[in-house]
């Protein structure tokens, strides 16, 4: 078998194994709780019966591995359980009925919203960062480079909510170009959706570009100090030829990694931004659920985020593998 296929299979296998372990961690972290979770959730109004019933319904009376397998098999089919919210009250009165909604039904619309926001950001942020990073590396130590660097450093030092609030003050409060709250719903038409998402996307873009640009610059500088670059110069090739034909082909792998890394970072930054702008995405859902201690929802959101993160890293590694001449053309 061609070594590249073997490497790819190995890497993808590793990704699946990671996902498995991550799901195990997400599931089992619940069991790390000292004391009884059920009693904590049901609170003051609990009785022996409601506790037992609740436990039974949650499946908490079964042994650990059976619960895990049940949970996992359900999750793979799209069933992530039901939320805890709204349960305690109903249990106190009518133990048979449950008005709890499924986690999946909560997640679905928000998933679309979050990815929409992330895509909007990525579309602007990735090309912009690459451009800034590469030019800063090429014109190293010039005024341009120093300015770009300083601004990037300042931006990544600020918490995201700071950037968000400054943008709100300037663009939504003093000069009211954009709304400060982004209530998108599933029925919002496309262009209005874009309009409502501009401020959150702008915040995310600024932060992501700052990170990505610094990493790109560092990677390009590192690349430019390779000995074969000097050799190309000594062959009398023009600067642009050296960069385009010698540096660039070797840049795909590090740049793919940087993009994947930052897109993964984007997923995390989305959480804060959604909260600030009250944007109905997965991040906001997760934060609300954490405050309410609605574990199934938290687990579902965590799983979604982890899946995205692992997939992005996997894609980056795959790109590194298929652009590596040592693997493409083995000895």
């Amino acid at each position: 078998m061609h070594p590249i296929v073997a490497t790819l299979i190995k890497r993808i296998g590793l990704g699946i194994v990671s996902l498995f372990f991550v799901s195990l961690i997400i599931f089992s972290s619940l069991n790390l709780l000292p004391g009884d979770f059920v009693e904590a959730v049901l609170g003051q109004s609990r009785t022996e019966e409601t506790v037992a019933t609740f436990r039974k319904e949650l499946g908490l009376d079964k042994p650990f591995h059976i619960r895990y397998v049940n949970w996992l098999s359900a999750a793979v089919q799209g069933d992530l359980g039901s939320t805890f919210s709204g349960r305690n009250a109903s249990y106190a009165n009518q133990p048979q009925q449950s008005t709890a909604r499924t986690v999946t039904s909560l997640l679905k619309p928000r998933l679309y919203n979050t990815f929409f926001l992330a895509a909007m950001t990525a579309l602007i942020a990735v090309p912009l960062s690459l451009f800034l990073g590469i030019t800063a590396a090429l014109y190293r130590n010039t005024f341009y480079d120093r300015t770009v660097n300083a601004s990037a450093l300042a931006t990544i030092s600020m918490p995201e909510f700071f950037v968000a609030y400054i943008l709100i003050i300037c663009l939504a409060s003093i000069y009211q170009f954009f709304p400060s709250l982004s209530n998108v719903t599933s029925s919002t038409p496309f262009f209005e959706r874009v309009y409502l998402s501009i401020l959150p996307a702008l915040t995310l873009t600024l932060v992501t570009v700052a990170h990505m640009m610094r990493m790109t610059r560092a990677a390009i500088i590192n690349l430019l100090s390779s000995p074969y670059i000097e050799m190309a110069q000594l062959k009398g090739l023009s600067r642009s030829k050296v960069i385009l034909e010698h540096a660039l082909p070797n840049a795909w792998a590090p740049i793919a990694n940087i993009i994947a890394f930052n897109l993964a970072y984007l997923i995390v930054g989305v959480v804060v931004v959604e909260v600030v702008f009250v944007y109905p995405g997965v991040g906001q859902l997760m934060v609300d659920s954490v405050i309410k201690r609605d574990i199934p929802v938290v687990q579902g959101c965590a799983l979604v985020f982890a899946l995205t993160y692992i997939s992005l890293n996997l894609i980056a590694d795959v790109i590194s593998i298929i652009t590596n001449p040592r693997l493409l053309y083995p000895k």
Partner: protein, 541 residues
Amino acid sequence: MNTNNTDNSILLEMKNVSIEGYSDEKWHPIINEVDLRLKRGEVLGLIGESGAGKSTLGLAAMGFVRSGCRFTGGSVLFKGKDLTKMNEREKQKLWGTKFSYVAQSAAAAFNPAHRLINQTIEASVSHGIGKQDQLQKDAIELYREMQLPNPEEIGDRYPHQVSGGQLQRTMTAMAMSSKPDLIIFDEPTTALDVTTQVNVLATIRNIVKEHNTAAIYITHDLAVVAQMADRIQVLRYGDTIEESETNNMLKTPKEDYTKSLWAVRSIKKKEKNAKDSILSIENVDASYGSGPKVLQNVSIDVPKGGTVAIVGESGSGKSTTARVITGLLPPQKGRILFEGKKLETNLDERSKENLRRIQMIYQSPDTSMNPRHTVRDIIGRPLEFYHNMKGSEYSKRVIELLNLIELDESFIDRLPSELSGGQKQRICIARALAAEPKLIICDEVTSALDQIVQEGILKLLLRLQSELNISYIFITHDIATVKAISDEVVVMHNGYVVEQGMKSEIFSPPHPDYTKLLLSSVPEMDPQWLTKILSSQKSKN
């Protein structure tokens, strides 16, 4: 101004060239007002120790300075035009067409992402010297001249798919592709094995003669430069020490420094036949992890109070043998006897006493001492650890050891970065002596040092041996060193012991094939050596 039609016109003239380099926030001189002259078709050998500025001067001959360096004076006249006054674009037109550069490490100089043939003709294509098809055909011809295997197809490979020697020859082909007036060879064979080196040297010499290309051949190896150059220029600390025709310089060097470079191995140890062995390894097989065997059925005896030299090229297993003896790599088969008793094969199982009695000195003085420890700490730790010495006894002994290695008390508080290469290696010797060992393994301890310094270290080691009756295992790839200090010799190749015996036996015929190859590949100071070797190889075929 002479026209360039006659074969003997001056091609390159560097006058009063000075170059500075930037480090530690200051500009330091690298080259001081050096002159260099080169005629068409002439090969100039540029020799000197590391740090003499050879590479910098070589690049400057093209009008190129590395980043962090600058021209501060003088002129570089190429066919009458001053390169130091030209702008980047004008110089780029000359680079890759009239000038070519062959770097020391071919593996680093080739772009891993492009095929060899494309990189070979790249400069010519980009400067519009010829059409792609024709250039490719010419390149394949060059590959053939370089005696590369499968010249038609080898260009389609990627750099990682060919061996080091082949890559070096490909780089030379790349340099020749544009039929330049001047090629600068920067230590092209230093990274190669001795047996590969012969072929590469031969091809370079032929090619340069055939195409009447001028060349600057940079190296620190005197025997090599004697084969390749018409004239030799000696550089030291950025100054020219001496410059003249090869034969003249070899026979009658004028300056003391030049003479000192020529004085190769004035030491020649008298062979001593020891009756006992202090250590022997018997039938040892070893491998790293589950990989292939690195040592196969190796048996070696170390004479008591004498020196056995283990000689071989890279990959022969000499360093692995050292690791087996020290216990870092337990063998899969075989045993080790030390002073007649069986020695544990695993380092962790050995007693402190046994660990003390066998000491090791490494090749690279830069990485064998902790950069944060002072000389006192380095030499003193074995005293503390093995002999429990403290206080004034400790300090006194440290100074004694310093004197033993021909340094003095003033070195005691220095850090390794404040020592020269030779001084560092002496400290390492002192560190080994502090334990009062019976056996010292010297793993290529002089290979990273300059010629004169090597002399000094070898003399020191011999003196210590006669005073303290220590046995040595001396691992090296340098035949001259072997002749200088050994009593017995072991020749290794690909994990096998090819032969072993007294020095006189090994160096006189008849030899097993590999030993013959090895001995004949070592360049000698005779300028005709290469020619002789090649004709004897041809007559064999």
